[in-house]
């Protein structure tokens, strides 16, 4: 009780203690902001992969037929909620006068894709997807175009002009890609890429908020794309299967099960040899990003280390302030000791006070970090308005918005470290207080 009374008294009477609280709060707040920004970015990065590709991706080295049979097999297992085929290609898209863009083309089934990832939610048009029974064979060819292909983000605000993008819906654009044809040769028939150009109507605009996807992807109905890509083939073809796992299932076990099913399917239905099967990548979409995520985590660690080292000054500051308090409050210490308090309990008062100061500073730091992170997009917008400096651009940092979720795990670690640092800073002054002799200090002369 006496300890708490003294802590509160020193806190109230010694205004200089507020300086150490401010320093602890600033350092903790800054570290929490850095850690939260990085973990928010990493989490958004991983989530964007899930939104684009589902939970698990089966990626074959070459296109394969009978994908519907494989998808049915997958969906019969309890671990797979839905699966969707993808046929990939590259092309050049002519969007209008003088506007040509290189695009990555995905042939998709819009309906099944909407069950696997957030495709339907990314469409700007609002008309939804074509019905599951719609047959496009006799209809006009359609496609879904990334917003970054039809309009550029505003250089000042980094925001897309959605109305301008919507105006493209319903317009005819021209795509050229490579069609794979079998040609005869001296050593027998071989596949060769022939240029294939066709026009389609923009059915909708895709906006995911991920710059690379929005500015580089074009989605075509898989049957339509397949007719262009493989004009000589009758059956259905895909190159990837994107899979959404059932909630609560074990990812590793599910991947192993999918791998087993694929090996069986490829060897029995596709007649693929072991060599070709071994080149099929079956991986969770999060794990596919692991190399880059690892680098991001490393950079976060390095940055936290740098700012952590720079924040070591907090220990020196607490030391100085507490030393000053101990020197000016020697009479308090002597009276406490004269009343029978042991050296360790006197030391405990000051170490505890250090921890108490650290605790208040850490709490203020967490609060500061929380306010900054939660309002980071507003802060960034104000910096742009006041200083004309656009700090966050989706073309550089992938996402349209700055991740604004606080990382409570790191906030805890940093908060505890702040308390420990303040207690360490108070340790030597506390020892000095513990060693003072009441008889020397309380002498009349």
């Amino acid at each position: 009780m006496l300890k708490v009374f003294l802590w509160l008294r020193y806190l109230h009477k010694r205004k200089i203690v507020l300086l150490s609280i401010t320093a602890v709060a600033l350092s903790a707040g800054m570290l929490i902001v850095v850690a939260s920004l990085f973990t928010g970015f990493i989490s958004a990065f991983e989530q964007s992969a899930v939104e684009l590709m589902g939970d698990v991706v089966v990626s074959a080295p070459v296109s394969f037929s009978n994908y519907r049979e494989f998808i049915e097999t997958l969906e019969d297992t309890g671990d797979v909620e839905a699966a969707t085929p993808v046929l990939t290609g590259r092309g050049l898209l002519h969007l209008g006068a003088g506007n040509v863009r290189a695009v990555q083309i995905w042939g998709i089934e819009p309906q099944s894709r909407a069950r696997v990832c957030g495709f339907a939610n990314s469409l700007l048009g609002g008309d939804g997807l074509p019905g599951p029974d719609s047959d496009d064979s006799g209809q006009q060819a359609i496609g879904y175009v990334g917003i970054g292909l039809v309009t550029e983000p505003d250089p000042a605000s980094d925001e897309y002009d959605f109305d301008a993008a919507r105006e493209i819906i319903g317009k005819r654009v021209v795509l050229t890609t490579g069609a794979i044809k079998e040609v005869g040769g001296a050593v027998g028939p071989r596949a060769e890429v022939k240029r294939k150009t066709f026009a389609f109507t923009v059915a909708d605009i895709v906006f995911t908020g991920v710059y690379g996807i929005d500015s580089g992807f074009l989605y075509l109905p898989i049957e339509q794309f397949q007719r262009q890509l493989y004009p000589d083939e009758d059956g259905e073809r895909a190159q990837m299967i994107h899979i959404k796992l059932a909630g609560g299932c074990n990812e590793a076990a599910a991947v192993a099960q999918i791998r087993g099913l694929w090996v069986q399917f490829a060897s029995e239905k596709l007649n693929w040899g072991q060599h070709l099967i071994s080149f099929t990548d079956i991986e969770t979409s999060r794990r596919m990003q692991s190399r880059y995520v690892l680098e991001l985590r490393k950079q976060m660690g390095v940055l936290l280390l740098i700012f952590g080292v720079a924040s070591l000054s907090v220990i020196a500051l607490v030391f100085c302030i507490f030393y000053m308090i101990v020197m000016t409050r020697q009479r308090d210490v002597a009276i406490i000791r004269a009343c029978g308090a042991t050296s360790s309990s006197v030391a405990g008062i000051f170490v505890g006070f250090g921890g108490f100061v650290g605790l208040i500073g850490a709490a203020a730091g967490v609060g500061l970090g929380y306010i900054v992170i939660k309002n980071i997009n507003v802060v960034e917008q104000w910096i742009r308005i006041v200083f004309g400096l656009k700090l966050w651009k989706s073309s550089v940092y992938i996402f349209s918005r700055i991740p604004n979720e606080i990382d409570w795990g790191w906030a805890q670690v940093i908060g505890i470290s702040a308390v420990a640092a303040a207690a360490v800073g108070a340790l030597i002054p506390a020892l000095a207080a513990a060693r003072c002799k009441p008889v020397d200090i309380l002498r009349y002369e």
Binding site: L19, F198, V309, V396
Partner: protein, 449 residues
């Protein structure tokens, strides 16, 4: 003189001063190391962008390009301040290898290898034709075949030491390159379905500009071929840009202003020509503005890091404040005596300001020396960490970064040291004011002694 003596005395006799010195030194050390590395990366990146673009670019973002460029090239070549000029064609191409089912979309740049090497670092970025860049598009295995140069990251993988392993000779491989030919109005040059132009090229060389977004996405072909594939080779030939190198000693802004004047006159002279509308989209930019969107991202990161260090440095200001406050409190008798023998308020404040400057300078020297020592060994430390623990500051297979930049920039060092001195002066301001206004009669009373 007494100020200097007392400042030295406080500095070395008061052990608490060492704490402030250590705090300043630590802060300077961290900032010097981080800012040297960051500045090195930015300077290197700017240099590579300069090498890529030349000094000045007259060009348009439109893929249609602009006409009459040949006449303007002649005008530029006659100018005293222009050393070399290179017109280029830019666009997008669909590329596929023989016997492969895969297509790749790349950015396409059509250049005259000799002219472009005279303006930019194109020739120096080549591997097989580094001494013979005029023949960059002639594959050494069959010089009569049309060759192309690929960005190095398209062709080769970078190892963990940021090195590429080239075969002794370029591999004989052929690729078909397709483009949409566009008319001067931007429409497709030919109606119907077969509207692309395709031509086969053979691998000739790689280009290592050091810019990840260029080396991983750009292929280079001869200028005339790019012009034909993009539909720019009609009656009025078109180009996308003209890259310019100024003569040695020409100031960048003066040179660009000169080019701009020439361009405006040229444009005015062509206003009645058939394709004059395309000239309106053309801009004259120095290399910094031309590559602004890429350079600005790194510069902003440097600014953000600086702001964060300024925040972290606040604690150091607090430390200096507390140390000075303690010293002023403990040395009140010194101050009283000084004032009683005639020292003015300003002199007493000056004494502590001098002490603060000495503190800042000493901390800067200690921090800078430690930073310099660390920087000289930073690559060895990283190599050691990589060999023992597999740790690299940046995974070189992911990032196009070579060695960690460790050249101490005098400008950066001067700014950091000046900031350290200013921080110390800011921290010492209130305590020195308190010392200056203290009354000798109050501190030298018998009951205070």
């Amino acid at each position: 003189m007494y100020k200097l003596v007392l400042a030295f005395r406080y500095m070395f006799k008061r052990r608490i001063s060492y704490l402030a010195l250590a705090a300043v030194g630590l802060c300077v050390f961290v900032v010097v190391v981080v800012m040297t590395v960051m500045t090195g990366l930015v300077v290197d990146f700017r240099q590579k962008n300069h090498e890529f673009a030349g000094d000045c670019v007259v060009g348009t973002d439109s893929l249609v390009g602009f006409g009459y460029y040949e006449e303007f090239v002649e005008i530029l070549e006659q100018s005293e301040f222009v050393e070399a000029v290179s017109p280029v064609v830019k666009g997008y191409a669909l590329v596929s290898g023989a016997g492969s089912e895969r297509n790749y979309g790349f950015e396409l740049m059509g250049v005259d290898a000799d002219r472009h090497s005279a303006v930019t670092g194109f020739g120096r970025a080549l591997h097989y034709h580094q001494d013979d860049w005029a023949n960059a598009f002639r594959p050494s295995y069959e010089p009569n075949l049309p060759g192309f140069v690929a960005g190095i990251d398209i062709w080769l993988e970078r190892d963990s030491r940021s090195k590429y392993t080239h075969p002794s000779e370029p591999t004989r491989r052929r690729f078909s390159v397709s483009c949409f030919p566009l008319t001067a109005k931007g429409a497709l040059a030919r109606a119907g379905t077969d509207v692309v132009r395709t031509r086969t090229f053979y691998f000739s060389d790689t280009s290592h500009s050091g810019l990840a977004k260029v080396d991983g996405a750009m292929i280079y072909i001869p200028f005339e071929w790019a012009q034909q594939l993009s539909g720019m080779g009609g009656a009025v030939k078109r180009a996308s840009a003209i890259h310019i190198k100024f003569t040695a000693g020409t100031d960048l802004s003066v040179g660009c202003a000169g080019v701009n004047d020439l361009w405006e006159k040229f444009k005015a002279g062509k206003q009645n020509e058939k394709a004059a509308a395309l000239l309106e989209t053309v801009r004259v930019q120095n290399w910094k503005d031309y590559r602004r969107q890429f350079i600005a991202a790194m510069e902003k990161e440097q600014v953000m890091l600086t702001i964060m260090f300024a925040l972290a440095g606040t604690t150091t200001v607090f430390v200096v404040f507390v140390v000075f406050y303690m010293i002023v409190s403990h040395k009140s008798k010194d101050i009283g005596i000084l004032k009683s023998v005639g020292a003015s308020d300003g002199s007493v404040a000056g004494l502590f300001r001098l002490f603060a400057v000495m503190m800042g300078l000493s901390g800067s020297v200690v921090g800078s020396l430690a930073g310099w020592l660390f920087l000289t060994k930073i690559n060895d430390i990283e190599n050691w960490l990589f060999e023992r623990f597999g740790f690299q500051l940046w995974d070189r297979t992911v990032y196009a970064i070579g060695a960690i930049p460790n050249r101490l920039e005098p400008g950066v060092l001067a700014i950091v040291c000046a900031c350290a001195v200013l921080a110390c002066m800011a921290g010492a301001y209130l305590p020195s004011r308190r010392a200056a206004v203290s009354a000798p009669a109050a501190v030298l009373q018998v009951n205070q002694l």
